[in-house]
Point group: C2
Chain length 322, copies 2
């Protein structure tokens, strides 16, 4: 993973400086919220993917910051609204923004970041970039809405689960990859290949996230352990457990999730069962298949540093523990 690490160490400061500068120009009411969520140590995977694909296609200019950062800001905007609507208490190990800054500031900061992201993408006068960004925003919003709808009427339906993780996570990562190709003026075929890479990587990323939610102590993920379960979210580890359990138990659980009446003892019991059955690991195995699919999409690209880093990034998605 040396190349990955070196690339991130080299490029991260530029992205972070840019993000900080842009957030610093927002109105005082929302500026600190924006800086707080941006500064809370996200992995900057989306900006890096945009940059990597642009460079992989030979793009040499240094004006990539706005489009690359736009995707990070979009992501931050959705975190702000989601955490508020979920009544989440923690985000990346820190108090959720709405608890620090209040409801009005947090909702408006989300709106401002969404608007800023959009404006940053429009700076290039490149209609393909604007279209990709607009689609990415639309699909991400739709994915989140579907997730919340699903949590109100949970089931073990894998198709719905996959559609949700594609919508809420993978489409924006696909978008980041496509934007890199579009910035470099690559062909539609290149863009599709990059998009396919991002889509599969995004699915793997979310599967690992959902696996970690059942497997990691809070201190590593910065989120409460079993948080998804307690929030009533049905994710793959739980689906795998329930598929092998008895029907009556499943009905009881789904009803409790729907009503928000899951007791602490029930939750602890399920966390134990998921751990004992190794369903977190099985979810990771599923993620590994998507990582392989993602790497296969890179075959037509010119070998070079970027390709090495993209492959390592794909592997990193699987090995991360937080």
């Amino acid at each position: 993973m040396d190349e990955l690490l070196r690339f991130f160490q080299r490029e991260l400061p530029g992205i972070n400086d840019f993000l900080d500068r842009e957030a610093g120009q927002l109105n005082g009411l929302v500026r600190d919220v924006a800086k707080y969520i941006i500064g809370s140590g996200g992995k900057r995977i989306r900006p890096m993917l945009t940059l990597l694909f642009a460079r992989a296609l030979g793009y040499a200019k240094d004006d990539y910051h706005a489009i690359a950062s736009a995707l990070e800001l979009l992501h931050s905007a959705t975190l702000l609204h989601d955490d508020y609507l979920d009544d989440a208490e923690l985000r990346r190990g820190r108090d959720a923004a709405h608890l620090v800054f209040g409801r009005t500031e947090t909702i408006l900061a989300g709106d401002a970041l969404l608007a800023l992201a959009n404006e940053m993408g429009a700076r290039y006068g490149n209609p393909r970039l604007s279209w990709l960004l607009a689609r990415g925003i639309m699909e991400t919003a739709a994915g989140e809405i579907e997730e919340i709808e699903f949590s109100r009427n949970p089931s073990l339906d894998r198709d719905i689960y996959m559609r949700i993780i594609i919508g809420k996570t993978a489409r924006l990562i696909e978008c980041a990859c496509r934007c890199g190709v579009a910035l470099a003026g690559g062909s539609p075929e290149r863009e599709d290949a990059a998009g396919e890479f991002g889509l599969n990587l995004g699915i793997a990323f979310q599967l690992v996230d959902d696996a970690l939610d059942y497997a990691s102590p809070t201190s590593e993920t910065g989120k409460p352990e079993g948080g998804d379960l307690r929030e009533g979210k049905v994710t793959l580890p739980l689906i795998l457990l329930m598929e092998e359990g008895d029907e009556a138990g499943t009905e009881v659980l789904l009803e409790a999730l729907k009503e928000g009446s899951l007791s602490e003892a029930q939750a602890a019991d399920i966390l134990d069962q998921v751990r004992e059955g190794g369903y977190s690991g099985k979810t990771r195995e599923e993620a590994a298949l998507y990582v392989e699919k993602a790497k296969a999409c890179l075959e037509g690209f010119k070998p070079g540093e970027e390709l090495v880093v993209l492959r390592q990034a794909a592997d990193f998605v699987l090995t991360r523990t937080k």
Copy 2:
């Protein structure tokens, strides 16, 4: 106003059908909220201005619905978030959306409409349209944020007041006018003239809105009488009153607005004073100046039905009573 009426009667159904169709494709969780706010009888001024300027420049195609409607959806999105954050009870004479559908549905519907608006604007592959839309969103979000910030620390500063009404209202109307020219492929000079028209019209529109807030019974405006005052918003009628009042009284009022401690008796007293002093009418007089400025911007455009309607629309802003 015959031409204005005829134009709206002819074109409104097309815009409304389009809006309804687009909203109908949103996820079930937010679809009804979107249809509710869209169907609550807005004046569709923004879409009409886009269409009028496109037609005034000879644009004959029928693909204007998406960009024209985008501006209406943006406007609707901001109403949803604003009413929720303001704890508003009424909007256009009906219960505010968050009271009917709930917090999550309303916030997410705002996000979805914003995303949809953006996507609709990107459909044309016209980078100027995308840029205008992105700027319009950005400025509108900033204007709203500034308004809320101002309400927390109110003053009689006319410059701040003007900056806020430009940001929260006039920029989006300017954007609607510019988009019409951009759609028709008009020159930068034409676009600037249309934008100037929209900016001045937007200022007049908001001034009249602020005048109506002090002058109209609820049954006409669909908002509670003196609602701005009760919400702690300082608008021009109040600024005019206080500029002629004593300093001590002003301090007391500003403090009460800031603390949200204005009593019913204090509010009623101020409403009386604004009425007796004719400050609502004086606000309208100020609006009339901006309407004249707006109409002067139309001089370089080719005479025709659209120009007649645009002039009548400008006059209508002044004469409306709700």
